[in-house]
Assembly symmetry: C2
Homo-oligomer: 659 residues x 2
């Protein structure tokens, strides 16, 4: 039988080796024309400038927290916390360095063949995806071995969640301030095409793809991947009587298996004859899912010798597939709801938004039902073992390596398209990138559904871990105080979303003013004879994002600390339960409604209505713009809120119980 430690280490090392190979093969590609390299340079400079300032901002908070953790829980938790924060940031940074190189190479390859462009973009994503998963796996393994203290590992999860919180909120506000601002002046006011080089916000928009969509999602999946291992190991420690020490190591073995399956899926995700590009990616996804399930069967039998645990894990895989397919149904290009929204848009922007809302609200039902079914079935099938819920939860993670690749594929193509447009590449190559961009959009929507599904089940494991640690067997919901805190918890995601959406509106409004100002004050800009001041827009987005990420961030980890210390462990528990349930539903809603608006607009853009029924086209553009902050700022941030609340509750629980 394989040694779990050996297997984990081996897979982690293998994944890093694959990353090195991928990077080498990407860097070998052609970087296109001088102008393309120049534009890519702008993006790269803007991206790393933002990331550096983001790290500095986070750096203002982290040392104080590390000190607080040291005094509250000792050096081990504090060290684990610092490792969690740093590894998350490092993973984001490495990923970013790769994607800002893959973008221009994808643009250049698109002049040659669509298949090649697709492959480069996907491999760029894969490098990011594997970096994130490998660093998380190796980091937790190393800490487990050196610290030998499972409770201290919560610090690692908390650190990862905290970094993700700032990266996702900051990145989200950045990208959507720039995107919405650029669209409002460009598309809506001046009827210019997307990524017109005269638009001063265009570079900020492209930088945003990297810092929001890539780095944000990367840090998010890093925390998912990490939190699930940490909580799984803690809960697993209560099952050593049944499975021996493997009960603790098994979460790592599962994740390692998922990485192996993902590497295989990545190898398959290329242009296949007779398959559309999105079907090709789907093939990779389903292969990854299938191999994950097969691998899971073998490791469940050999490490735990319990088929129920395999079934539980498989139900997690199945539930995420349901979430992905439901998202595709509600938001996919040409799906019935999207066509219905397009039809309603004949009545104007308001009808577009009302009908989109109706479908978006619906879209959150089925995934939640599927997830609940997975949890309940795992629990029942295993004879009421909480360990089965850990299995279901890590089951949802097994495809992360592949999902992250497919997700990062989107912004790389988006960037490539932007580079091609700004530098005036011939139309054919741009057409190729446009078709890939549509594929990327669908993958992005699916990834969000996936991440939300995974996060929701994670919450159940966090609850279970929490109950176990707090020795709570049942909840005094008959106590009005506990019940009231459940309602207060449910209110938190509303406040939190209000802050992130409001910040995006503020940022976009500033961006609109700046772009308008440049058009007014820069002579020759309208005619394309002058270059706009891109840096100024990059700076505006950076400032807004960094300033506005603080308050929601503090709220997310301050609320559980305050409630826990003021009231007690039961009350903290109900607060978190209320918050997670409302965050999950709002999150699915925001993600779906935004993606549906996006694809309704794309649907109209592919028809003659763009010219012949301008009112309808404009209605879908309004919907798309409304959906942007919902799907790219509020939705993803809620996911992180959900997990950060849980990890914070777990972290402070010992203090709360002492109080």
């Amino acid at each position: 039988m394989l040694d779990p430690a050996f297997f984990t280490l081996g897979v982690g090392a293998l994944a890093l080796a694959v990353v090195a190979l991928l990077v080498r093969s990407i860097l070998r590609q052609d970087t296109g024309t001088e102008r393309m390299r120049e534009v890519a340079g702008y993006i790269s400079v803007g991206t790393s400038a933002y990331l550096k300032r983001q790290v500095r901002t986070i750096g203002l908070i982290v040392p104080w927290l590390a000190i607080a953790l040291f005094f509250a829980f000792g050096w081990k938790t504090s060290v684990a916390f610092l490792c969690g924060v740093s590894l998350s940031l490092v993973a984001g940074y490495i990923g970013m360095s790769i994607t800002t190189r893959a973008n221009v190479r994808t643009a250049s390859a698109s002049m040659e063949s669509t298949g090649k462009a697709m492959r480069i973009a996907f491999l760029g994503g894969a490098a990011m995806g594997l970096t994130v998963t490998a660093l998380s796996l190796l980091g937790i393994f190393a800490l487990k071995v050196t610290l030998d203290d499972l409770q201290a590992l919560v610090g690692f999860g908390f650190g990862g969640s905290l970094a993700a919180m700032f990266a996702q909120i900051g990145g989200g506000i950045y990208t959507k301030s720039a995107d919405v601002g650029a669209d409002l002046v460009g598309k809506v006011e001046r009827h210019m095409p997307e990524d017109d080089p005269r638009n001063a916000a265009v570079i900020a928009d492209l930088v945003g793809d990297n810092v929001g969509d890539c780095a944000g999602r990367g840090s998010d999946l890093f925390q998912s991947f990490s939190d699930d291992m940490v909580t799984g190991m803690i809960l697993g420690s209560a099952f050593t009587w049944k499975y021996g020490p493997n009960a603790i190591m098994f979460p790592l073995v599962m994740q390692a298996t998922g990485i192996l399956a993902s590497i295989t899926g990545i190898a398959l995700a290329r242009e296949w004859k007779g398959l559309s590009h999105s079907k090709s990616l789907l093939l990779g996804l389903l292969t990854t899912a299938f191999l994950s399930a097969v691998g899971l069967y073998f490791i469940s039998m050999s490490f735990l010798n319990d088929v129920a645990m395999f079934l539980a894990g498989a139900s997690g895989i199945a539930a995420t597939l349901v979430a992905i397919f439901v998202a595709m149904y509600y938001t996919g290009p040409g799906s019935r709801p999207v066509r219905e929204i397009v039809k309603m848009s004949k009545g104007g922007a308001a009808m577009n938004i009302i009908s989109g809302f109706s479908y978006g609200l619906q879209g959150s039902i089925l995934p939640v039902l599927a997830l609940m079914a997975a949890v309940v079935l795992s629990y029942i099938v295993s004879g009421y073992s909480l360990y089965a819920i850990v299995m279901a939860n890590i089951g949802t993670d097994l495809m992360i390596g592949f999902i992250m690749s497919a997700d990062t594929f989107g912004p790389i193509v988006d960037n490539a398209e932007g580079i091609a447009r700004v530098s005036g590449v011939e139309r054919d190559a741009r057409k190729a990138l446009e078709s890939l961009d549509a594929v990327g959009n669908t993958m992005k929507a699916s990834t969000k559904a996936y991440a939300m599904a995974s996060g929701t089940i994670t919450a159940f494991v966090i609850f279970a871990t929490y109950f176990q640690a707090a020795r709570i067997e049942s909840f005094p919901l008959t106590d009005p105080l506990a019940l009231a805190l459940l309602f207060v918890g449910a209110a938190l995601p509303f406040l939190f979303s209000s802050l992130t959406i409001g910040a995006t509106a503020t940022g976009a409004f500033k961006m609109v003013r700046e772009v308008r100002r440049q058009f007014r004050e820069t002579p020759g800009l309208k005619e394309g004879k002058a270059t706009p001041d891109y840096a100024r827009c990059v700076d505006i987005a950076t400032r807004v994002a960094l300033r506005e990420m603080i308050l929601p961030g503090l709220l997310a980890f301050g609320a559980p600390v305050v409630v826990g210390l003021a009231f007690g462990p039961e009350e903290l528990g109900t607060l978190v339960i209320g918050a997670v349930s409302s965050a999950a539903l709002l999150g699915f809603f925001f993600n779906n409604v935004g993606a549906a608006f996006d694809n309704a607009k794309k649907f109209v853009e592919a028809t003659a209505w763009v010219e012949e029924d301008k009112a309808r086209y404009r209605a879908t553009v309004v919907g798309d713009t409304v959906g942007d902050p919902l799907k790219d700022v509020a939705g993803p941030s809620l996911l992180i809120l959900m997990k950060l609340l849980g990890m914070t509750a777990l972290l402070v629980l010992p203090l709360v119980m002492r109080a």
Copy 2:
């Protein structure tokens, strides 16, 4: 000391006598010109036609339920159920007959003086408000005396909730299909003013004010008023050891006290020199609140001899005032958030909606916090007595008589304005009505906040009653099944809102098509030389509303029955808790965001931007249209969902426990 039965009966009779006086004084007023009477006739015919068909539709379901209740719980519950349904419908019908007479008289009075118009509209509302409260009070009193079975009274509450469910969903879909449809063709496409007689949907829109805003809200407050007494008496029966039989009768005495306070407030709500119209109404509201508190003090001391119960009731009054003032802050004309939305609208419709969303999401936080504080403080101040939560809850009802008057005032003025416009009354009189309309809008927004606040606390009493009846002392939230059902519960309001919003979109879309068709096919209509076919639009709205109210209605009472019988009392409890928490937050959000959009549009309409910054004005019109189904269909329906779920759970609990 007063006898509680005597006091209750006396106040109920007094309220009906006041209604008779009000009706007589309203009917004595002038009904204006021939043309005005003609238009009012259309509205009246359309309204009663709709109400009759609505009763018939509800009549298809009610007998079956009555039979089911008979077999499940015996004849008493079945009779109480039938009384609840009928009294709710009768109250709605009487109210409707009054408002469809007050509207034309208000229009006529506006030609004389604004103060007189205001008074007639308000008294029309008062007649409705007092009818609703008196019938509820007397109905429950009569059943209590004749049936002598508290558990059977749940049937009454369930009946009232069921009738309210259909009346609010049906009425809401009706009114907003017509309103949105009329606006989209009228204002947005043809730039015609509101209520232009050439617009075929204009009469349907005016009928909608009656069947949605009046009848819908009336049935809603009928159920609040009733449910709170029923649950209060049941929970009170556990406190006879402390307060004697008064513990059971006290809820009725409280409501009677509220009716007395409201009658005084109504007498004060007239034009006062030196006070704006909205301040005059506010004066009436605050007087009612103050008198309610004073009355509450006296009855608490004389019937219960417990000052803690007074404090608990007063905290309920205070929490509703907070909800009202927060709603005024977030949605009031000229408030900071509304001005901010207007500013953002410079960036177009999307920015209008994004910023409105941000504020709307925020607006749900403070009321929920205030309500939770009221619940928790009542509980603590009374030395952890659940009876105190009954007090807090009925405390929120004491102003219902007044609130309902102020709320119905809105649609009466709205109707009067429509009648004046359609029949071409001179501009001065219309100006008077316009200013009253703005007052009515603010009152409507406040009432919704009030009703939601009251409903949220009611939920706590329902929970407490449920726990007591189910003998549940703590909740097995550590059981993944119960926890999963909490999430499923939280998903219900999303599905439910999706259905109601989607139905409105469908209805509005049909209306748009019909109005366009008439403009195209009726010769001379555009020039105002032909009369449109109003009846056809009335018919479309009626059909859509009646067809689309069935599914959400069934969902609302089917879900708890199925879950309860399939899983058990604890699981049913968590389902309802999850649903109520998410319904409360979504409800506040929908109500606030819609009202803020409405007033942002009104703010711009009062400026020169209507002509000079048309893009901005149109942006606010889009926001207003998006907000319509949210604030007038989804929000109010969620409130009823919340209570119907609770009452159904209470009702089926004995079956669930047997199963």
